[in-house]
Amino acid sequence: MNYHWNWLIFWADAPDGTGTYLHTLIRGAYWTLGVSALAWIIALVFGVIIGVLRTARVGWVERVCAGYVELFRNVPLLVQMFLWYFVFPEVVPQSLGNAIKQADPVWSTFWTATVCLGLFTSSRIAEQVRAGITALPRGQNMAGTALGLTRPQVYRYILLPMTVRIIMPPLTSEALNLIKNSSIAFTIGLLEITGAARSMQEFSFQIFESFTAATILYLIINLVVVVLMRLIEKWISVPGFIGTKR
């Protein structure tokens, strides 16, 4: 095929004057990791709260939280990204909207992407948390109450510690999904890995080298996350109980 391969392109200077193309890609990896890490924190906090509230056995609370999950699940992530980026600054009070619009575009896209991905992922984690809590034997809840613990204490000391151990495998795949989904931040202008590869491709015309590099970066990050989550899983496992093999 008459495609002109040039693997040395990574050491050529990028036209934006900030170093080589390799630098562009590495910076992209930093953005991907930064957005994903912060969004993961948001997702865990909101996901656990919503997931717990869905098991609260108070009718309207459960319905509101179910609505939250349905809302984030049934709108494509790209549309959610546009809503946060283009619509949100218009519908909030004008002073806040103006502050967002006047912020440094690099950071405003970063925070928009973080919030969007965080809340989207939180709805998925909420489902896992709810499923984990309902998978526990009913007796655990009752035993806690019989011991005189309050509702928050039952969740804090009995139900949630068990749930976390049950849902570690699905949490791992949610973390991987989050990293993959962070590529959508590229559509609002964040130069994360996919965006960096795309800009490298547009400037250097070395299509397949750029995308190969992005592919390898994603694979490395995936591998690190899988290993990390496995270590955590092993570290928190209760001997002789769930989470331990054999």
Binding site: N74, V75, P76, V79, L83, F86, Q201, F211
Partner: protein, 229 residues
């Protein structure tokens, strides 16, 4: 808050729904059919006793599932013309239309996900049935086509349909190729008329309604067709 301009939505409805949504639905339906067929074949490959065949299928599925769809869309957008040029022996890249490119991408990408669903479906069939099929003198394709796959499809129908809803939402990503799918059409109007709020909220509402109703129906279907064992 300022006035929400319903008029712009009403005025552009023929374009946004007639051109945009039709494109999205067409892409979703054709891609699902293609991806289910390809995915089923790959599931059969993954369950093959030949380590080379199952290894190749496993590598492909894991690679696809590890990468973001946007990156895959770019990959295939640039790669497909070269592959077609190579296959047809033209010796140079052959340009393909946006729809064709998107369709090929979604079939190849989603096949990896449908493969995992069908693998679970095939494995849900008791092995004794396969043994019984061979004992009756059927060959591999007859056992698969007449015994295993019909049941696997039935067991997995709700999951397949749920994945189809995911695919429907994922098609919005063809935006990065500047195609006029539903979101692309809404975006064109939003940029042209400066009506971001109206058009994106409208797009979100339509996506929500379709996905919500569809996932509700899948849940009802799941209860109805469940085989009582």
């Amino acid at each position: 808050m300022f006035g929400f301009d319903f008029d712009v939505i009403w005025r552009t409805l023929p374009y946004v729904l007639g051109t945009g949504l039709v494109f999205t639905v067409k892409l979703t339906v054709v891609a699902t059919i293609g991806a289910v067929i390809l995915g089923t074949l790959m599931a059969m490959m993954r369950l093959s006793s030949n380590p080379v065949i199952s290894g190749v299928a496993g590598f492909y599925v894991n690679l696809m599932r590890a990468l973001p769809l946007i990156l895959i869309i770019f990959w295939f957008y640039f790669l497909v013309p070269y592959i077609i040029g190579w296959v047809t022996g033209a010796g140079r890249p052959i340009a393909v239309g946006g729809f064709t490119s998107a369709l090929i991408t979604f079939i190849l990408f989603e096949a990896a996900y449908f493969c995992e669903i069908m693998r679970a479906g095939i494995q849900s069939i008791p092995f004794g049935q396969i043994g019984a099929g061979y004992a009756l003198g059927l060959n591999y394709w007859q056992v698969m086509g007449q015994i295993v796959l019909p049941q696997a499809f039935r067991n997995m129908t709700p999951v397949l349909l749920t994945q189809m809803i995911v695919l429907f939402q994922d098609t919005s990503l063809v935006y990065v190729l500047s195609l006029t799918d539903f979101l692309g059409a809404a975006n064109n109007i939003a940029q042209r008329d400066g009506r971001m709020v109206e058009m994106f909220v409208f797009a979100a509402v339509v996506y929500f309604l379709i996905s919500y109703v569809a996932s509700r129906s899948v849940k009802r279907l799941e209860r109805r067709i469940a085989i009582v064992r």
